[in-house]
């Protein structure tokens, strides 16, 4: 081993543990070189110190948060890629593709179906009431006496009698008592 090979081994030791053969060759070379030995020992100690540095703390949900951010990024990219002239339906479909919106869409769908059913039921009831009313009118119209015009011959006179004032009644009373 020479000085150059020693330097190469020192550089190698920065990145990996030396092999047994390399260590043996190094030890043999350093045995008669106290200066280089001291240098090597300092290098080896620093290698060990750097190698023993602990890992930094990483949250257990690190990957989940990154994936969430990626999902958000994809959603934003989708929004941006949708042209301004795109129809409302195209935009809605874009949102539907996102998992976060699926639940909301499902809830909205259930509400929509519920409101639709309630409205249908209300309409059915209204139709039923109208039919009942028409049926009653049809029954009155079907009374035979009402279809005869003679029934209405004295209608105006009878209506006027109903509209007579109290003074007329008093006048009639006085005439009758004379």
């Amino acid at each position: 081993m020479n000085e150059s090979e020693f330097r190469t081994l020192v550089e190698e030791s920065w990145k990996r543990r030396l092999t047994e053969e390399e260590r043996a060759a190094l030890d043999a070379w350093l045995a008669v070189r106290p200066t280089e030995r001291a240098e090597w020992e300092a290098e080896a100690a620093l290698n060990r110190a750097l190698g023993a540095m602990p890992n930094c703390p990483v949250s257990s949900n690190f990957t989940a948060l990154v994936m969430q951010a990626v999902e958000h990024e994809q959603a934003q990219a989708l929004r941006e890629s949708t042209p301004a002239s795109a129809s409302l339906w195209a935009r809605l479909l874009t949102y539907i593709r996102l998992p976060a919106f699926r639940l909301a869409w499902a809830a909205l769908l259930v509400c929509g179906i519920g409101i639709g059913l309630a409205y249908y039921s209300h309409q059915t009831n209204v139709r039923h009431d109208v039919a009942e009313g028409l049926k009653a009118v049809a029954n009155v119209a079907s009374v035979p006496s009402l279809s005869d015009p003679a029934v209405f011959e004295d209608f105006d006179a009878i209506r006027r009698l109903a509209q007579s004032s109290a003074s007329d009644d008093e006048e009639l009373y006085m005439v009758l008592n004379k």
């Binding site: 080896a44 100690a45 620093l46 060990r48 540095m53 990483v58 690190f62 948060l65």
Partner: protein, 201 residues
């Protein structure tokens, strides 16, 4: 040192095709190395975690630009380093603002809503804890390029060529940065390195 086809590059190509599962796999695999790197560049656990998450988000957003010719880790740490540098510059210009304000336009993004407070694993002894603090301090005091080079050089994940690419300098300049940084560390940690606390595994 990586040889042969890069399995992460294959995963990244799947991400490019819109495969979320492949992306999740990459996040799971590299969250700790990225977090270590970011934390040691911005020594603030909460903000470092936010920034580490943004590193992965940036990876996802830039997936369409990824070319399989580049090693995934080199690309990942280039993004991590650039975001860290941006954050350092931003802090220098606007020291009162937090990282949340920087990403205010992403207000719907739930980045910090469930961040848990954690502490480092309990050290074996007070001495060991003190030594760990000293080395963290010494690293933090290094110029950014030296620190990045030393942190990336700790394991066999990166070749000197990879580190050089991330630092945007030559391999010889990278080795020089590592050498100078290590000299500073050896000087600062001299009394501690001699204690023998860091034993050979």
């Amino acid at each position: 040192m990586a040889t042969g086809p890069d399995p992460d590059a294959a995963l990244m190509l799947r991400v490019k095709q819109g495969d979320s599962a492949a992306f999740e796999e990459l996040v799971e695999k590299y969250k700790q190395p990225v977090m270590n790197f970011v934390y040691r560049t911005l020594p603030d656990a909460t903000e470092a975690e936010d920034l580490a998450q943004h590193v992965f988000l940036q990876v996802f957003k830039s997936a369409h630009r990824y070319e399989a010719a580049a090693r995934f880790t080199t690309w990942l740490f280039t993004i991590a380093r650039n975001l860290c540098l941006n954050e350092i510059r931003r802090r220098y210009r606007h020291p009162a603002e937090s990282l949340d304000e920087t990403y205010a336009d992403d207000d719907e993004r739930p980045m910090r809503q469930a961040v848990e407070t954690k502490t480092f694993s309990a050290p074996e002894s007070m001495l060991h804890a003190e030594l760990e603090d000293k080395i963290e301090e010494a690293l933090a005091a290094l110029p950014e390029k030296q620190r990045t080079a030393i942190l990336m050089c700790r394991g066999d994940e990166f070749s000197y060529e990879d580190i050089a690419r991330v630092l945007e300098c030559s391999v010889s300049a990278t080795k020089s940065l590592i050498h100078r940084g290590r000299e500073v560390l050896k000087q600062k940690l001299k009394p501690y390195l001699k204690t023998g606390v860091w034993k050979e595994k």
